[in-house]
Symmetry: C2
Subunit: 193 residues, 2 copies
């Protein structure tokens, strides 16, 4: 059920901020610059947005990065997603348009995360081997956020030990009998990893 | 300004339907299946959604197509976008994962539009040569929708004569001094093309 950006969503954002927690809009932006309208999310209080680098720079993500910089917010790029078909797009082999080199799409995306000074890179917690490979490119300059822990089968220890700095956990907490207990469980597991 | 899906947006949808016009949600879906929640758009009255084939099939667009079929609505796939950086993603050269063949990304996307029985393909009106090339693959089995006419520099005649069946026109109408007059202008230009 949609909550309304300046209504239910804004109240959740304010609650999180009152607990000193940052909030990220996982909107997977992939439209033309004019339409992305990222300032709406930032005006509603979000500290960062997630965007798809597939859309490219000029008239695509460039205005998103510019608005974010101006408003002192973050842009996190999708580098490898958590779902089963991730291999189709994120895992496909491409020719680098500059070098003519053959490489996986996610390597090109990790390189864009560095070149564009992204504030984070999303790599599915369901693919720890991809986290390791992408961490080797990002070298800690761009932190890795890993979704897919729990409901999608990702494992906390495998993701963190492969290089994930943050875990994105949805259903395994929100649909748990006791969400608070589930959240504490994952926090403790991450600390021990 | 966000209007709220079941509030302002729904009123626009109802107004369009009262004039016998279909409405398409240009949300450029590119999330995992569980999160796409396309039924919300259909429940709000939309006749079709636009999705990014880059997300892939399994646990990606498969549930979107399934829900659409169940609810008798449409799914339109992005094949080549209208903005300047479209070459970066949609125009990149890839290796086909099945055949090992080297081809442009948009050719692979057009082939997915056919294989997945999409109800439409979006090809930027700013790139009539791409419309022509993609039309040659789709052969009228999947109609082409062309955005980017007007504000982004796309030309009605070039788009239609290259194979576009429908034109998506935003700012050139919405920001016109007389939107009704602008809409009639584009309609007449399309009919003459």
């Amino acid at each position: 059920m949609p909550l309304g950006l300046y209504d239910g969503v804004k109240r959740i954002v304010e609650k999180a901020h009152s607990l000193d927690l940052p909030v990220i809009m996982d909107c997977k932006i992939n439209d033309i610059g004019y339409t992305n309208r990222v300032e709406n999310y930032f005006n509603a209080g979000f500290d960062a947005v997630i965007a798809n680098p597939f859309v490219g720079w000029e008239d695509g993500l460039q205005p998103v990065f510019e608005v974010a910089k101006e408003m002192n917010r973050g842009v996190i790029l999708l580098v490898y997603m958590s779902h089963k078909a991730s291999w189709e797009g994120y895992g496909q082999m491409i020719y680098d348009s500059k070098t003519g080199e053959k490489k996986p799409q996610y390597v090109a995306f990790a390189e864009k995360a560095l070149a564009w000074n992204a504030d984070g890179a999303v790599v599915g917690g369901t693919y720890p081997e991809k986290i390791r490979e992408i961490y080797a490119i990002l070298k800690g300059k761009v932190p890795i956020y890993s979704p897919g822990i729990g409901a999608q089968g990702g494992d906390v220890k495998a993701a963190v030990s492969s290089g994930a700095r943050y875990l994105i956990i949805g259903r395994a907490i929100t649909l748990a009998r006791s969400p608070g207990e589930a959240a504490r469980f994952f926090r403790d597991a991450a600390r021990k990893s």
